[in-house]
Amino acid sequence: MKKSEFLAKLEQVLELKHGAITGKESLDAVAGWDSLAIMAFIAMVDESFGVSLSPGSIAQAKTVEDLAGLLGDKIEN
């Protein structure tokens, strides 16, 4: 999956407008990034990528880029 598609899916999870996330943002600055959004993100990644993310790995992520990094080569730059 292309990175732009990943960002679009993340926007859907967060119920944000298309283009609201560029990828460089700190997660602290992303509107709606709370426990519900994190749970929805885990479910989305599981469904779309077949990857089971642990909450511990998400806790280490500081930016949207870091989140994408958790999916390794499943995301093309």
Binding site: S35, I38, M39, P55, A59
Partner: protein, 371 residues
């Protein structure tokens, strides 16, 4: 951020106090108990029903969240299993976005420790915890709520729902003072009653449970697809003899014990739903097959004689729901949600009728609170 989830012990006292201070300051109405040992169901040697609390601790040894598991034996599809109730999760993420991950970590940790999990209560589907459980794939259902009015004036004067508009408030006052409300409610409740009162059914208030409760348990437990162990030993732990609030009723028909009911008789004070009413709650119950109606009828009569304004109960199983409906109880909006984890839902083979075949009551929840 590095978070570790550990069992709570006395060494966490200062960090728990600081956590409570931070979340109170953030507007969170809940707080962790000051006691490291669960006050309701502490773990003791040989006891299979107990609570354990876990804390989410960060790298600076600060508490950032907590949850509790109530472990209990359930008979599920004929097989006795220890499962757990996911209770009172609390995360600093509710007041500080930086800790949003904590709520997710608590849930993941609980599922890892006990995949057969359920949650009960929770208030409304719109609240954060039920929304999170639903996103995590848990099965959700409301346990129906029933009420029966004993004193119409008190009911109409106190029900918060009837005070929501001036017109409703005025109409209810007029109806209360002219006697119209009494007539309407009596007719409605009477019309709902489908069976004659058994003349030889009687209530015996007892101080504790013993062998007779085991006979009831063995006789009916296989009628339910999911039911918490309700033998005498467990009931003595849940509704202990030294707690004077619980009204324990043994119901007899003739000389035979046909069931039991545990109830509360509570004088409410500015309660958000019940105002200042005296509320009788049928908290828990069990009966021989076919004895449900008589048990509800007897318990309601007992509470009415004590002077309650209203009798309420939550019942999931279809036989108990039919029993309360046939006794003239009316169904109201329920805020009592049952959520089952993916593993537990799979184990239950849940189909469309969930939770109609499970026996879940207020007795299966967080304990003698919110009743």
């Amino acid at each position: 951020m590095k978070i570790e989830i550990v069992p709570r012990d006395v060494s966490h006292g200062a960090a728990v106090k600081k956590f409570n201070g931070r979340i109170r300051e953030g507007g969170q109405p809940f707080a962790l108990s000051e006691s490291a040992r669960p006050e309701w169901l502490p773990r003791t040697e040989g006891r299979r029903i107990f609570q354990e609390q876990y804390l989410a601790i960060d790298e600076s040894a600060e508490v950032r969240g907590a949850y509790m598991l109530k472990h209990q034996d359930f008979l599920i599809n004929g097989e006795m299993k220890s499962i757990a109730d996911y209770q009172l999760p609390l995360s600093e993420g509710t007041v500080d976005k930086a800790y949003g991950i904590v709520g997710v970590m608590l849930l993941a940790d609980a599922i890892k420790k006990q995949p057969l999990l359920y949650g009960l209560g929770m208030g409304s589907y719109r609240r954060p915890l039920p929304r999170m459980l639903k996103t995590a794939g848990w099965r959700m259902a409301k346990i129906p709520f029933y009420f029966k009015v004993c004193h119409v004036k008190a009911f109409l004067g106190n029900m918060t729902a009837l005070k929501s508009s001036r017109i409703l408030r005025f109409a209810s006052l007029v109806m209360a003072y002219t006697g119209i409300a009494w007539l309407v409610l009596s007719l409605f409740q009477f019309a709902s009653r489908k069976m004659a009162i058994g003349k030889n059914v009687r209530v015996e208030q007892v101080s504790s449970f013993s062998d007779w409760a085991d006979v009831i348990w063995r006789g009916c437990c296989h009628s339910y697809s999911m039911i918490a162990l309700r033998d005498a030993e467990t009931l003595k732990i849940l509704y202990p003899e030294d707690n004077p609030l619980f009204l324990r009723m043994r119901i007899r028909e003739g000389e035979d014990v046909i069931g039991w009911v545990v109830a509360l008789d509570t004088q409410m004070k500015r309660h958000k739903q019940f105002g200042d009413m005296r509320v009788g709650s049928i908290v828990d119950c069990l009966a021989v097959d076919g004895g449900e109606w008589s048990c509800i009828r007897a318990a309601e009569g007992f509470l009415r004689m004590r002077g309650v304004d209203l009798v309420v109960t939550n019942q999931s199983h279809h036989t108990w729901r039919r029993a309360v409906a046939r006794n003239g109880f009316l169904r109201g909006p329920s805020n009592y949600i049952l959520a089952t984890s993916k593993s537990l839902s799979g184990f239950l083979h849940i189909s469309g009728g969930f939770p109609d075949l499970a026996h879940m009551t207020r007795g299966d929840g967080d304990g003698p609170i919110h009743l």
